[in-house]
């Protein structure tokens, strides 16, 4: 435990110093690298939010709706009512949570799971996207819209920080740390054991006194809130939101697949997924840009190469590495370390089967 805590502190220090290192090493392309890091951190936060549900078998394709609701609520309130995002984000989060509970409650009561749950939440995503496109007088339709720039674009009141990439990085880092803290808090809670039990056998879980619907609603609300907040901050950073970049089926699928690629059941899995997907697309882009041969051969088609590879890799991941990159790596490392230093047996049988005690 001590070792883990020390590792976390060292890691945090490194992350705090990272933008300074970037500034020292790449003074000319500092903005680009920091942009990459901010993207990774913001998406990691959203992915971590999704994994809270995904790890318990609640495979939602509806989180593109929540990121969209968060982002659009904040921007529309700012543009049309002059409401600061400090109030806009809570409003967006509240709206997303309300939608999540409205859809989640009947789903969980009626035990809609598996394919049905995935396809029903997919319908929610489409519904929200269509509403955004349909309200084109306010939202700009499928072209998207921008939050009105406040002053020089850096403002605490308007929560705008895009021109200062260094500041953006620390905002994103803070958000990401909050996301990890929430994940850990859920992971350590009794709800986690209840949900683990429910994801394996709902009847058995209910028979030992777990209020399955309530437990699922709790984690759904947290997950939707994180995605809405993440979508809102992402919109503030990009200074642009579009129905296809922050809402819709494409976003939903990206969220699900990045988490699967990284690893759904470990703390940093979604983050690894975000790093992996960003590096894959950026790495390919740079490789193609710098190679005259590839450029001539692929032409404009190069733009889609990363998605094609991504799709192919996902198929391979799900078939051969369902635990994701980090999950598989940890498993491999533990297996290797096990014979050398046998892990003390966890008193897990007693701990994990205890039904949660609830105050109410």
């Amino acid at each position: 435990m001590m070792r883990v805590a020390r590792g976390a502190i060292i890691g945090l220090m490194l992350l705090l110093a990272l933008p300074l290192a970037v500034r020292a090493l790449f003074p000319l392309s500092e903005k680009y690298y920091l942009h990459l890091l901010v993207q990774i951190l913001l998406w990691s936060f959203i992915y971590t939010g999704w994994s809270l549900m995904g790890r318990f078998g609640l495979t939602s394709l509806g989180h593109g709706a929540f990121t969209g609701i968060g982002a659009y609520t904040v921007v529309l309130l700012w543009n049309f009512a002059g409401l600061t995002p400090w109030l806009g984000i809570p409003a967006g989060v509240a709206l997303a949570v309300a939608v999540a509970l409205l859809v989640g409650y009947p789903c969980f009561r009626l035990r809609i799971t598996g394919h049905y749950f995935a396809l029903l939440t997919l319908a929610l995503t489409e519904f929200v996207r269509l509403c955004i496109v349909g309200l084109r007088d306010y939202t700009g339709g499928s072209l998207g819209t921008q939050p009105a720039r406040y002053g020089d674009g850096i403002s605490l009141y308007a929560m705008q920080f895009e021109p200062d990439r260094m500041l953006s990085y620390y905002v994103a880092l803070a958000l990401w740390l909050v996301g990890l803290a929430i994940w850990r808090w859920v992971d350590r809670s009794m709800d986690r054991y209840a949900l683990d039990a429910a994801s394996q056998d709902e009847d058995a879980a209910a028979s030992v006194g777990i209020d399955v619907t309530r437990e699922k609603l709790k984690v759904t609300a947290i997950s939707a809130a994180m995605c809405a907040a993440g979508g809102a901050v992402y919109g503030q950073y990009q200074m642009y939101i579009g129905p296809d970049t922050i809402a819709g089926l494409g976003v939903s699928l990206n969220i699900v697949f990045a988490v699967i690629a990284g690893g759904m059941w470990v703390l940093l899995g979604p983050t690894v997924g975000a790093v992996f997907t960003q590096l894959l697309s950026e790495g390919l882009r740079v490789a193609i840009q710098s190679s005259a041969l590839l450029k001539a051969w692929l032409g404009s088609a190069a733009l889609a190469l990363d998605t094609a590879l991504y799709g192919l890799l996902l198929v391979l991941f799900i078939i051969y590495m369902p635990k994701g990159i980090l999950g598989t790596a940890i498993e491999w490392w533990q297996k290797r370390a096990a014979p050398a230093a046998p892990q003390p047996l966890r008193p897990s049988s007693a701990e994990t089967t205890t039904p949660p005690v609830r105050a109410s």
């Binding site: 009626l110 269509l130 509403c131 496109v133 699900v256 697949f257 692929l298 889609a304 799709g311 078939i319």
Partner: protein
């Protein structure tokens, strides 16, 4: 926002009926595959998209349309079998949701591959069939033909499933996955044949869609969610349910599109779908499992 019970309203309703034929055909292939193999092909609409490109290039290559359409159907039937063999079979025994997600990877791949191979511009076959006028209303021949052929295709599948030995075996597998292998039915072969038929239906739908729609790599995202919604509304795996659901959903789209705006028609259809599922989770004709 002007909606009167006039001749244009009637025209919208009839156009909705014609659209329903196509949607029912699209849902049928997905329902067949789900009913038999218990797998949702999230990339189903992308198979249709690939078929549309295949037919487009075969036709532009100088072949008569009928031949190009047959090539498209065979191409996608083979693609369906390959999809099952390479992608679905390795995950048949893992969690059901993995089977849905693995085809999501295929969705990304097909979409991006189509963008790379064919570009992002809209392609059109350039076949103009004209339209038929009737009492101030006009209906495109391409829609009428689509409707007729879609119905004929569904009838053919029904005859195949009810009158042939292979069809009976497919229906039997759909009813009981464990017992049929004991009765000497090779389930692997049945799965492969079913996937090919499901792909063939996607190919048939592609052949009909190229007459009406422009082809572009993202067209799957436009139709995909609609098809899934119809399948779930009718009861996943229930082919008659899917048929009825297609007619309900297409009316929402047609009337909504004629009275308000296209996307609101779609939005209301999705809302209606969610409400119905909360009342009848197993779908209109699905049975509780």
């Amino acid at each position: 926002m002007d909606c009167h019970l006039d001749i244009f309203f009637l025209e919208a309703i009839i156009n909705g009926l014609l659209l329903a034929g196509l949607l029912a055909l699209l849902a049928l292939g997905l329902n067949l595959v789900f009913g038999v193999i218990d797998v949702v092909w999230i990339c189903y609409a992308e198979l249709v998209m690939v078929g549309m490109y295949g037919i487009h290039y075969a036709y532009k290559g100088g072949m008569p349309f009928i031949v190009a359409a047959l090539i498209g159907i065979v191409l996608i039937a083979i693609a369906g079998a390959i999809l099952h063999h390479l992608v679905i079979r390795p995950v048949l025994d893992s969690a059901p949701i993995n089977q849905l997600l693995v085809t999501g990877g295929v969705l990304f791949f097909l979409q991006a591959a189509a963008t790379m191979a064919f570009g992002i511009d809209f392609k059109n076959l350039g076949i103009r069939l004209g339209s038929v006028g009737f009492a101030d209303m006009s209906f495109a021949w391409s829609r009428i033909i689509t409707f007729a052929i879609a119905l004929a295709g569904m009838l053919a599948l029904w005859l195949f499933l009810s009158r042939t030995f292979l069809g009976t075996a497919i229906r039997a597998i759909a009813q009981d996955r464990q017992i049929m292998p004991l009765m000497g039915v090779d389930s692997r072969k049945i799965y492969l044949v079913t996937s090919a038929i499901g792909g063939g239906l996607a190919g048939l739908a592609a052949a009909l869609m190229v007459l009406q729609y422009d082809i572009y790599p993202q067209i799957g995202l436009q139709f995909g969610p609609l098809i899934f919604m119809i399948c779930v509304l009718g009861g996943l795996g229930n082919m008659i349910g899917g048929f009825i659901a297609a007619f309900i959903i297409s009316q929402f789209i047609a009337i909504g599109g004629s009275c308000v705006a296209t996307e609101w028609g779609y939005a209301i259809a999705f809302l209606f779908f969610m409400v119905v599922i909360f009342i009848r989770p197993q779908g209109l004709l699905g049975t509780k499992s």
